[in-house]
Structures are given as C-alpha cells and as structure tokens.
C-alpha cells in the first residue's frame, strides 16, 4: 500500500510538472466541446434550385413562386437552357434542376396530363433524396390547387389522403447539440484516457527510466495500478468539467441520474486505460504507441455511432462495434442524458464494458515484463 502511494505521488508529480500536457488535457477538450457541437447539423435546408423554364406560362410562374415561397428552396437561377442549369450544378451553385417543358400549361389543360423533369445532384444521396421528396410534395400541392380551380369535387374528395402526423420524442425541438455534446464528451474522455496511458509507459521505456523501476522491488500490479489510477482520476475530472460545460453552455441537464453516468464512466475508463496500457507493453517507442492507439481510436470513434448510425453499417462493421467500448459509452451517454434510462436499462452495456476492463487489464499485467 505504501509503495503504491509513493508511485502515485510520482505519477501525479510528473503530470502536473509538465504545463503543456496539463494545458492539453484540460484546455483543448473544453475548447472543442465549446466549438464543435455547433458544426454538427446535417438537416437538409436551403436547397439551391435552378429552374429551366421552356414554357413561360402563367402556370409555370405560379409553380415557381409556390416553390420559392415554401422556404425549403432558394432560387439560384431561372434560365431557359438546361446547359446553363447543369453548369450551375457542376460549380456546386445549385443542387437541383427543375425543368418545365414547353407547352406544360397547354398539356395540363388540354390533355389532362403534363410532366415535369427534375435532375438532382446525387453525390450526397441523403440530400438528393430529401430535396427531391420536398419538391415532389410541393408539386403535388400545386396540382391539387390546379384541380380545384377546374373542377368542383363532391363532398368526399376522390383524392385519397393519408394524413401523416409525426412527433419527436425525447428531443422535441430536434436540437442537434443535445445529441452531439454527450457524444463528443465521450470522445474527449476517451482520447485523454487512452493516449496518455499508452504513451506513459512507453515514454519511460524510450527515455530509459523504466530500468530504474525494474530494479526496484515494486510489484507488477503495483506498477500498473500506479499508472492507471492517476489517469482514471483525470478522466473523471474531465467528465465532470464536460458535464458542467454542457449544462452551462448548452443547457443540457441529464434526464437520468448522474450516478448512472459516473458509475458507467468509472468502469469504462478502466477499460480504455487498460487498452492503453496493453498497447504500451507491446510497443517500444512513443511513435509506435501513438500510431497504434491512434489507429484504434479512429476506428473506435468513427465506427462508434457518433456521427453515423450503426444500423446502416454493413454486418462486419456492426460486429466490430460489438467489441468497441467507445460505442457502448456513446450509446449509454445518450440514453441516460436524453432519455433518462436507468441502471437497469443499461445493465448489459455495463457488464460488457466491465468484461473489457478485466480482459484488457489482465492481459496488460500479464504481458508486462520487468525486463527490457
């Protein structure tokens, strides 16, 4: 016990003596937490529309003014040539072309039927899909107006309408920040935890100070614990500061209990720190350790469901998320903060992450040799 205390004292001193590391640990995550959530919004709005009007009739003008007044579309230009419009798309000035063919009005009135053409820049599939759907529904509305202008419908309209009403639970204002802030907080805690612990032992190896520890009677587990505990504490401190920031800056009050969050975070940090230690026992230079832990972090974070939904990934990628501690924490954080899930709801997550912690740390202690 006394040995451990001295080891801890040494580690804490080492951390607090390096002001640049401290700055990085505390200041950088906070700045990121304050800035980045503002960028995370991929709601499709302000679709730039280029109208090619070969008809120049009353109807075509009515239709265009109806589209522009809907609020979803910004009329980028109004031309009489498809080529010009296509050029706008090439330059990324327009997202969508609506082509109104010549004699559109005539066909509609005389033949009872007319066709409009749309061309969407589909590089971004989601935007293309939604933009097309919005435009189509506006055209349908317009169609209905035209019809009522010409015919008197009987009491029950022959047009079938299924009214769709939608409600958004847990985040009725659809505030993207509520969704992103807990996720980004997880990333920051993870980065600090895993990188620093991975680099720590390797640094001793590279500089040569590990020799001195190897010749002391310090036990393996004491050494590992001495490395683990300081970063575990730092991780929880960062989490607390992060929660405070999300409350002050974004007004996010966890719907669930803080105890649930901390209980999970405590176990989770053990798992990531264990992973960091494991990496550091298998590498010899800081560069290697960093590259490997960085590679793993990137895979973990990007496949963790922070930005893109796990459900839409291919099967094998979904399998990776099963062994990805980050994805569990992100999910738990969102469940607790937004939906108010309780410990019982996240029981399986907690147990899985606990298993990770045991495996990683056990493995790290097992493979750490007091030899160089």
């Amino acid at each position: 016990m006394r040995t451990l205390r001295f080891l801890l004292q040494k580690e804490f001193r080492q951390i607090f003596r390096d002001p640049s590391i401290l700055r990085i640990i505390f200041v950088m995550p906070m700045i990121q937490l304050l800035i980045l959530p503002w960028a995370a919004d991929y709601e499709v709005k302000d679709i730039h529309l280029s109208v090619v009007d070969y008809d120049h009739s009353d109807y075509s003008r009515q239709l265009v003014s109806k589209i522009t007044s809907s609020g979803y579309f910004i009329l980028q230009d109004y031309t009489a040539s498809y080529q010009t419009a296509l050029h706008e798309i090439e330059k990324d000035k327009a997202d969508l072309i609506l082509e109104i063919p010549a004699s559109f009005e005539k066909n509609l009135v005389k033949e009872d039927e007319a066709t409009l053409f749309m061309a969407v820049n589909a590089i971004n599939g989601t935007k293309a899909n939604l933009g097309g759907a919005y435009l189509k529904s506006i055209i349908q509305d317009y169609n209905r107006e035209v019809r009522t202008e010409w015919i008197q419908f009987p009491r029950f309209s022959p047009e079938t309408t299924i009214e769709v009403s939608s409600s958004n639970w847990f985040n009725p204002l659809m505030n993207y920040k509520y969704f992103m802030v807990p996720g980004i907080l997880v990333i920051l805690v993870t980065m600090v935890g895993s990188f620093l612990s991975a680099l720590n032992i390797v640094k001793e190896k590279e500089i040569g100070t590990i020799e001195q520890i190897n010749v002391t009677p310090v036990k393996k587990y004491q050494f590992i614990l001495g490395k683990l505990i300081p970063f575990w504490v730092l991780g929880l401190i960062i989490l607390s500061i992060g929660l405070l920031i999300s409350r002050l800056a974004y007004g996010i009050n966890p719907a669930g209990s803080l105890f649930t969050i901390y209980a999970f975070a405590g176990v989770y940090l053990l798992a990531v720190l264990g992973l960091g230690l494991l990496i550091s026992t298998f590498t010899t230079t800081q560069q290697q350790a960093m590259l490997i832990s960085f590679f793993m972090m990137m895979v973990f974070i990007l496949l963790g469901g922070l930005y893109t939904s796990v459900d839409s990934m291919p099967r094998w990628a979904q399998m990776i998320t099963k062994v990805n501690p980050v994805s569990y924490f992100i999910e738990v954080m969102r469940m607790v903060v937004l939906k108010g899930s309780s410990l019982a709801d996240i029981k399986t997550h907690l147990l899985t992450v606990f298993a990770f912690a045991v495996v990683f740390n056990g493995w790290a202690i097992y493979s750490y040799r007091k030899r160089t």
Binding site: E43, E113, T126, L130, T160, S165
Partner: protein
C-alpha cells in the same frame, strides 16, 4: 548540396530501420480506407422500427409490408399498447414507431381520408428526421398509387433523374472525405514528431552544432516522408477505384498532382507542430485532438458547411482538408478539369508555403 543529401540519407535510415513504424505508416491508411470506405455512410438503412397496428385490416397490412420491403426499415417487433412505445425507446431497441389508429382501412375506403402517426426517437435528430421523411414518402407513394388508379384529371407527373450517382451510393460522398481525412492525419502525424523527437532524445544538440542551416534540416526531414506519402496516395487511390468502386471521371494525373499538393500541405503542418513543441507527447496530442475532430467536423463531408453558424463557416476555410475534399469530389465524381478547381488548388498551395515558412521560422537554433 552534399550536406543536404547526407542529411536526407540519415532521415531515410531513421525511417527504414524502424520496420514496425514503417509498417504502421504504410498499412494504416490502407486499413482505414477499407474500413471507413465501406462502413461510413450517412445513409440511413435497416433501421429498427416497431408497429402498433390498432386496425389490423387489409390496408394497414399492405402498407406495413411495403414499409418492411424498403431498405430503410426493419420491423423489429409489434407492440400492442401505446404505453409500450416509451419503454421500447428507452431500452434503445427501436428508432421509430408507426401507429395506425382503429378503423384505418375503413376510413380510407369510405371517407378517402385516414390518419397515421409516426413517433420518432429524436435523441438522434438526424436519423429521426430522415426516417420520418422516408416513412412519410412511402406512405405518400402508397396514397399516390390509390389516387393514380382512379385517373384523375389535370395530373402533373414528375420524373426525377439522379445526376452523378444514380444508385445513391453513400460512397460517392464519403470516399473523397475519407481520403482527405486519412491523408491529412497520416501525413501530419508522420512529421509532427520528427523534430521534437530529436529534442527529446538529445540529438538536437548535435544537429544544432553542425554547420547545416535550419531550413535544410527541416526540408531534409520532409523529403523521405514525402516519398512515403506518395506511396500512400497511390495505394489510397487504387483502393478507392478498385475496391470501393468510386470512379475517377476526371484526369488521373490532375488528381495525383492535387493529392501530392495536399500531402505537402499536411507535412508542412506537421513540421510546424514539431518545431514549436518541446515533447513528443505534446506534439502528438496537438496533431491528434487538434486535428482529428476538427478535420472530420469542419471539412464538410460529415456535416454540410452551409448549415454551420457563420463563425464556423469562416473557420472551416482554414482546414486544408476542406479544399482537398472539394477538389477530389470535383475531379473524381463530376469529372471536371483544372479550370473549375484552380481556386482551391491555389489556396492549398498558399497554405503549404505559409505553413512551411512558419515551420522554418519557428525552428529554434538554441535549446532552452
């Protein structure tokens, strides 16, 4: 010149002797392109949903089977009471619930009017709004078909064409972004520790005492990494084309040239980090936390830049990956030539020279 050559040779030895690092540096981008190219997409598909069908008639069951048939939805379960919805959401099992009221089919038949409720778990607003839109679109299509069968007068038909990406593959949007991200991170990381490492190991003393000028030291350090980056660029391009099936519609030479310009920018940035820090840990942490999240979030491939608040839109102009992403998208997918991207190219080149100049200026010839 001889001095410079000798120095470059020394750097090469450094890199080539550390086989493990070399392996990581060349293997990492390959792995990342493959994993992210396949797995990252902001398409939403196979989302689990629940259905609460209070009506249970022909209309609801045909509508439900249509929803199930779409690639966007998997019906996870049926629920039987409105109160169950919340519990199912809380356990995180479903993203959306469809509620059909009693007499749905009857209303539809007799009054031509019926009602459906969509309840989305908006804790993820992006997915929630996309799914709500998809579900409504399927319901609208169903409604249209009924209407269409009756041949109403004065009908406006619409025909839609998807340009550049007719199958709406997520890869077309994401692969250029993943390329930018991977190149940026690998190249910055490679050079970020080269200078600071010499400081930490104490070999900097020797370098500073030698007659070689700081500028030469810096450039000599960049040369071997530039060659490594060229290998990486080649492997990334090959993988994108042959494994991820993203075509190169424009000129391959132009694309390679732009990629090398971008890697040079990143190498210069790494050198700047390296010469302005004192320990490897700091350098790594800056290039990771400082680069990773901002590159992902501000380069425009995850989140549209036009949706961001104005200050962030301004900041995003400082992210080199943003410009490279625009270039790659234009050249690879739209197939345009240099005349449409000279502005982006010019900006990247400007960034590169600025960063390199800063790195040389920051290089201290005295140790603290």
């Amino acid at each position: 010149m001889k001095q410079f050559r000798a120095f470059v040779k020394k750097e090469f030895h450094h890199i080539l002797r550390d086989k493990r690092t070399l392996f990581i540096l060349l293997g990492m981008p390959v792995m990342q392109i493959i994993i992210f190219g396949f797995a990252l997409t902001n398409e939403v598909k196979n989302s689990k949903i629940a259905v609460l069908d209070n009506s249970r008639d022909a209309a609801t069951s045909s509508l439900i089977s249509e929803i199930e048939a779409s690639r966007y939805f998997d019906i996870e379960r049926n629920i039987y009471s409105y109160n169950d919805i919340e519990q199912t959401f809380k356990a995180g099992r479903i993203k959306l619930a469809l509620v059909f009221p009693q007499n749905f089919g009857e209303d539809l038949q007799h009054f031509n009017k019926a009602h459906v409720q969509i309840v989305a778990d908006a804790s993820d607003p992006n997915v929630a709004s996309t799914l709500t839109n998809y579900a409504s679109a399927i319901i609208m299509d169903y409604q249209d078909r009924i209407t269409h069968d009756r041949h109403l007068p004065y009908t406006i038909n619409t025909e839609m064409r998807m340009l550049y990406n007719p199958q709406l593959r997520g890869a077309y949007n994401f692969v250029p972004g993943v390329m930018a991200m991977v190149l940026m991170l690998v190249c910055t990381l490679m050079t970020a520790i080269t200078v600071v490492r010499e400081k930490e190991m104490g070999t900097m003393e020797v370098l500073l005492a030698s007659p070689i000028q700081p500028m030469k030291i810096i450039i000599a350090k960049a040369v071997p990494y530039l060659l490594l980056s060229v290998v990486n660029v080649a492997s990334i391009l090959l993988l994108s084309v042959f494994v991820l099936n993203v075509p190169v519609n424009g000129s391959l030479i132009l694309l390679s040239f732009e990629s090398i310009l971008f890697t040079l920018t990143c190498l210069a940035f790494g050198l700047l980090i390296s010469s302005s820090t004192d320990s490897q840990q700091t350098a790594m942490f800056i290039s990771l936390t400082g680069m990773f999240l901002p590159t992902i979030m501000l380069s425009g491939f995850m989140f549209p830049i036009e949706n961001m608040p104005l200050p962030l839109q301004v900041i995003s102009n400082l992210v080199p990956a943003k410009w490279y992403y625009l270039i790659v998208k234009d050249v690879m997918i739209k197939g345009v030539g240099i005349e449409s991207i000279w502005k982006e190219t010019f900006i990247l080149a400007g960034m590169m020279f600025f960063l390199l100049a800063m790195a040389i200026k920051k290089f201290k010839i005295r140790l603290a």
